[in-house]
Amino acid sequence: MLFTKFRLTNGLTVIHHPDPSTRLAVMNILYRVGSRDEDPQHTGFAHLFEHLMFGGSKHIPDYDSVLQLAGGDNNAFTSNDITNYYLTLPYNNLETGFWLESDRMLQLDFKQESLDIQKNVVQEEFKERYLNQPYGDLWLHLLPLAYQTHPYSWPTIGKTLSHIADATLEQVESFFYRFYCPANAILVVAGNVTEDETRRLCEKWFSDIPAGTTNPGNYPAEPKQLQARRKEIAADVPQSLIVKAYHMPGRNDEGYYGIDLFSDILGMGKSSRLYSQLVRDERIFSEIDCYITGDADPGLMVIEGKVLPGIDPDKAESRIHEVIDQALHNATEQELEKVKNKTETNIRFNDTGALNRAMKLAYCEMLGDINMAVEEATHYRQVARTPMLEAAAAVISENNCSTILYHPES
């Protein structure tokens, strides 16, 4: 993965990643703003704002049709930590992407009408994904339980529909000026484009945009959890869902890779400890999973399983504890090598295509080490069994855990 990085005078970080094998050019713009930057009384804002970025900019009334006319496509997403926009174009029409992205970084066209419609769209998204699905609102319950201080305490969609409904145009404008500026953005230009061309287009389209400030990214640290937390939710669901979430190191912290691999030993695939014992052999769960949230700041390692009818959820939860304890003591070198091989396969498939690599480069730069994009596989390979188990033992303790039992109403 070849790349070069440079910075414009106004602080815009630019990364060029060539790929002459494609007929596409790609632009990925990452803004250092996510739901962790929101006011706890006005949540869901970063994501709502993402929608508004398509409502027209100073010189361009409609983003999408301009891009489509140039044969391009685009999308965006918001997470706890970032808002990420990406587009692909036939390589010869790349400059259209520069026109579009620079204009909306320069100045969004703030319209009440746009805001009103997108508030409705986002509220329908909230309903579709979180309210109209079985167990859909799980994270609305889990996050405030696990996080009592840090702004990971609410999901990206927002705490409630009303927070979205109450957003005002003034808040939109101030959000834009605070976060959507060159000093707070990382632009990756990838695909069938030369470095010279990238530099030329960046100078032409982005250099006159006022710098703004970089998000310092200081968030109140979540104090160490000292006691187990539990919550029960009764709902119209066919079976009980047990969710256990443990605080773990952040993306750049010691122990992150080890915890990731340990979570794979526990729950990735049919040979994993939790699946093979509790789904296959003992038929306690109809499904079980173990994964990490992968946040920049300290995130969560999560185990979630659906209990088969007729099984006592308390017994099911005890079995989870027992399986984890065993793994903490006797996870083998072979298991570790297995999950390293799986991880290698995943990384190779995920690194396919200029767009995927562009997103990865932007994200690693945001975390503070762009070389991680290339070295990630090596970091996983270097994890040794004993330090991994020590890191896992520190994380997997009931005092560090938030548990939710989401069960049928009767």
Binding site: G71, P90, I117, K127, P238, G269
Partner: protein, 423 residues
């Protein structure tokens, strides 16, 4: 000279499409294998295609269960041993059940191809459906079904296929709890013997394939080739235009509207695909523009043509504001009528054309996307010029033609409407 941001950069449409290279080889036993090569990609994705879809089954759920259980046990290897072995090599084996055909996908690192193929050979030759694993499959499938039945989108979809095709054939039938409970091991073994064991229809290999050719061909020599069954399955659309599936405590409704339509064999198909794009096939479509971006009634609405071997369906799908569902339904009907009655404007036509033409660059970008296109070409006996012709068709289509197509294929009065939720 300061920058003038009011002037759009000039653009040019790339309309040329050279079909990428790929290799077709036949094993000594007659199994056709397609290799799509990319030196830079040190992974392999292999698809083994069987003539083993629902159309080949003799009872409900037979094909799906038999395909799902392909890694659950052979005389030589237990389910646990299979999982341990495949996972150790960092590989993923995913069965995919379909209505017309089924597949097994193998994703692996090239250096582990040989041991992975040994396991896969065992699975495809000797799977024996152990009782214990079958009970587990049934229990877990029933739980998944119960969870799905509390999703409006699932209920709407299930109701839709029954209404459009009839519930007594492989296109429109659904699996209910009783069927899952009652399926027997013998039924699965029967299907394995009749449709999977020792036979393949086609194999696709993509990624860093160079070193893999001898291994794969050697593997395929253990299988005989089977041809596509061209049997046409009779279907019957419901004459009831509106179906309501109530689910109490819904906060949103799911809608599906559609009908049977033409598939790739028909000369109008590509034109209809373009018309579908205009109606609801991309973010700038009529449906998205009206129902999401102007009225804010939904997070997403789209239309699609789903093709099968001997039929196809056209549908519009959305999850929509509960209180204003009737508005959404009326607007969908209005949009269908507008396509028939009003010629499309030049700007909208050019935008959609350019978007779709640019889309071909995307859909031919990278070895996995290319393999998907090759599969469509080979499976449907289409010429290699199919997609470059497609671009010509899109470039040449007129507003009048689009209206005629809309009148022929998108009339609301030939469609069924399914609403799941609380209306």
């Amino acid at each position: 000279m300061s920058l003038n941001r009011t002037i759009a950069p000039s653009t040019r449409l790339i309309t040329s499409l050279e079909f990428p290279e790929f290799t077709r080889v036949t094993s000594n036993s007659g199994v056709p294998v397609c290799f799509v090569h990319d030196d830079n990609l040190d992974v392999l994705k292999i698809e083994f295609v069987f003539e083993a879809g629902a159309r080949n089954q003799s009872s409900l759920f037979q094909a799906q269960a038999a395909i799902s259980m392909l890694s659950e046990g052979t005389p030589q290897r237990t389910a646990a041993a299979i999982a341990d072995e495949l996972d150790f090599y960092g590989s993923y084996v995913q069965p995919r059940y379909g209505i017309d055909e089924s597949s097994l996908f193998l994703y692996c690192l090239p250096r582990f191809l040989k041991p992975c193929l040994e396991v896969v050979f065992d699975l495809l030759t000797n799977s024996n459906y152990p009782d214990y694993e079958l009970i587990t499959l049934k229990q877990n499938a029933i739980q998944r079904l119960k969870i799905n039945e509390s999703r409006n989108s699932f209920l709407a979809r299930r109701g839709y296929y029954a209404a459009v095709f009839g519930s007594e054939n492989c296109y429109g039938s659904s699996v209910y709890q009783g069927v899952i409970e009652n399926i027997s091991r013998e039924t699965l073994e029967q299907f394995f013997l009749s449709s999977i064991k020792g036979r393949l229809r086609q194999v696709y290999v993509s990624g860093n394939t160079t070193a893999s050719e001898p291994e794969i061909l050697g593997f395929c020599n253990g299988f005989s080739v089977v041809q596509k069954s061209e049997m046409v399955i009779p279907t019957l659309q419901s004459d009831q235009p509106y179906h309501y599936i109530e689910r109490k405590q819904s906060v949103q409704n799911a809608i599906r509207i559609g009908r049977k339509t033409i598939n790739r064999k028909d000369s109008d198909f590509r034109k209809l695909q373009f018309l579908n794009l205009l109606l609801g096939g991309y973010f700038g479509s009529r449906l998205m523009t009206n129902i999401r971006e102007e009225k804010g009634l939904t997070y997403g609405i789209h239309s699609a043509i789903e093709t099968y071997r001997d039929t196809a369906s056209f549908y519009i799908e959305t999850e929509i504001n509960k209180e204003l569902t009737h508005v959404g339904r009326q607007e969908i009907e209005n949009e269908l009528k507008k396509l028939q009655e009003l010629p499309i404007g030049a700007e909208e036509l050019e935008t959609a054309r350019n978007y779709m033409t640019g889309g071909f660059i995307r859909s031919f970008d990278g070895v996995f996307a290319i393999t998907d296109r090759i599969k469509i070409i080979l499976d449907n006996d289409l010429p290699l010029t199919y997609y470059s012709e497609f671009i010509e068709i899109i470039q040449g289509i007129t507003p009048l033609e689009l209206q005629d197509l809309a009148n022929k294929y998108l009339r609301f009065d030939g469609m069924v409407t399914i609403v799941a939720g609380q209306e």
